[in-house]
């Protein structure tokens, strides 16, 4: 059941300016899933403005629908403002490639090891005398041309492919991934991840009705998620839950749709804008705001 009071609390965090209709009708509204008897009291979607830090000089804020998971019918609750520095950057696919390659290779350790010739058994002793046997002349049984012989310049020991991509590229990668998803209609903003039932079929049918692709990534503020969505996504293949601190370019592009809560959106924008607008060295940088 949709808790309308919680929505008001959430929207108060993003300093709102025009929400009169919603507040007046909270007492009367009480949602239930698949309800056509109790429609939403607001007749039109409202514009709930969010105050954006570091406003962009050229572009005005983008706008997107605010939806619910509380009911199957796709009623929009309002419009959300998005910051153009994050959601309207140039679609640099090469930076996305670099981020994904980094995510794949920084954990990679190559365990291949071929022992060199001094780690082989003793080389003394010709296998057979130099002349008289009719076979080729050899000095030892473990030369490179032999089967089972040593390798001269082979891989030596565990090699790590660890490297850290510069912070500006990682931040730029996240911003481009989000723009790419937004401009290809694969991002949906949701008030919260509260579901009316824990049945996985509810979520699956909801996603199918709204054409939300085979794989969906739900992103919330904290790592403690409501019970219903945990159960439902555990039973469906392709649905994953993620807190904001786990957001990465690989996951964003792997899943076809991205579903963000308003709380997650606030946190993401705050962190990314803080990173985009700071010019200190990593040593001098002050602590980022709002650790998880």
């Amino acid at each position: 059941m949709l808790r309308s009071l919680s929505l008001v609390k959430i929207l108060r965090n993003c300093s709102l300016q025009s929400i009169r209709y919603f507040e007046s009708s909270t007492q009367s509204s009480s949602f239930s899933p698949e309800s056509s008897a109790n429609p939403i009291p607001q007749q039109l979607p409202l514009i709930v403005s969010r105050q954006l830090e570091y406003p962009h000089t050229r572009y005005p804020p983008l706008q997107a629908w605010l939806e619910t998971l509380g009911q199957k019918r796709d009623d929009k609750l309002g419009i959300v403002d998005l910051h153009p520095s994050i959601w309207q950057t140039s679609p640099r696919l090469d930076i996305l490639y670099e981020n994904i390659e980094w995510q794949k290779t920084y954990k990679k350790i190559d365990w291949a090891y071929t022992p060199p010739h001094h780690e082989y058994p003793s080389m003394r002793g010709k296998p057979w005398p130099q002349k008289g046997t009719g076979r080729a002349r050899h000095k030892s049984k473990f030369d490179p041309q032999w089967k089972g012989g040593y390798k001269v310049h082979g891989p030596k020991g565990p090699t790590s492919f660890f490297y850290v991509l510069p912070k500006e590229k990682r931040v730029e990668g996240l911003c481009t991934a989000l723009t790419v998803k937004l401009h290809q209609n694969d991002v949906h903003f949701v008030d919260s991840l509260d579901l009316p039932t824990h049945q996985p079929t509810y979520l699956q049918e909801l996603a199918e009705d709204r054409f939300w692709g085979p794989s969906v990534l739900f992103v919330d503020d904290t790592d403690i998620m409501p019970h219903n969505i945990m159960f439902a996504s555990a039973k469906t293949e392709g649905f994953t839950l993620m807190p904001v601190y786990g957001l990465n370019v690989y996951s964003i592009l792997k899943h076809t749709t991205l579903v963000l809560t308003i709380r997650a959106l606030n946190k993401i924008e705050k962190k990314l804008l803080h990173a985009l607008h700071s010019c200190d060295n990593p040593k001098d940088q002050p602590a980022p705001p709002d650790e998880p």
Partner: protein
Amino acid sequence: MPIERGLQYLRQMQRVTLKNLPMPLEKTLKWQKAHPDETKIKAIMSRKGPISRNALPPYGIDPIQAEGRLPWILTVPKEPYYEGIEEARQYLPISLRTLQRLIDLRRINPEKPIDLPVLCNTKLFSIQPDQRQFGLQLIDEGADLFSTPINLEIQWVASELAIAAIERCGGVLTTRYFDPISLSALIDAKKFFERGEPIPRCDTPPINAVEYYTDPKQRGYLANPDSIREERQRLAQKYGYKLPDPSKFSSLFRLKKDPRQIFYGLEPGWLVNLKDQTILKPTDSKFQTFYHS
């Protein structure tokens, strides 16, 4: 607009997935074949002959059909349009407009003397001493807007209007030369002190700059102060403003650096210890004579 065009393509094209991303050019075989590694070339090429022995004839000559022809390097005339660019000094521009803006936004304190480290701490200028950049120069854009008295120390001034604009408001301008070693100490003072080197002694300017820095018209730091006072009066008469009373200046406005001094309040030769918050001064006479000369 390139961003909007790119986003337009995004909207029309397929969904971007992990498999759709373009490989960077350097990883394709075509590029690698066109840009072979030096070690690869050496391994493939022969170890004998004029190429490997650096004994090729000059370009433009065929050894079989030479017959008195010159190589191209002697037939093509020289056109030295950029002669002397390797020794030329560069100064990054700062306009009066930006100065006024920084003062209004309270990024610079006009009550204290404005110096090169003060301007570099705003992180608006990236001065690179190894690129033959010798500091900042003052530009006269915004001369009408400028309206705060400041004690400014800059490395070059090209126009009289800029000097007049500062002195009309009651400010003081000096042009000062810094050699590259002291410049690298000034640009990032914190980094320099963390290195643990004594403060360097500023060198005299090169010969082609001595005339500039001894000229009272450019308010050089090596010029005679009496002639500077004369020039201030002359400029005031030329541009038609009244010089404010010198007695009204605060003591900070009269702060001037010694020709060998880099930082206000710190002498050359001193070692600043940031961790223990102390300064170490040399006591040996030869060091003192060197740094004070």
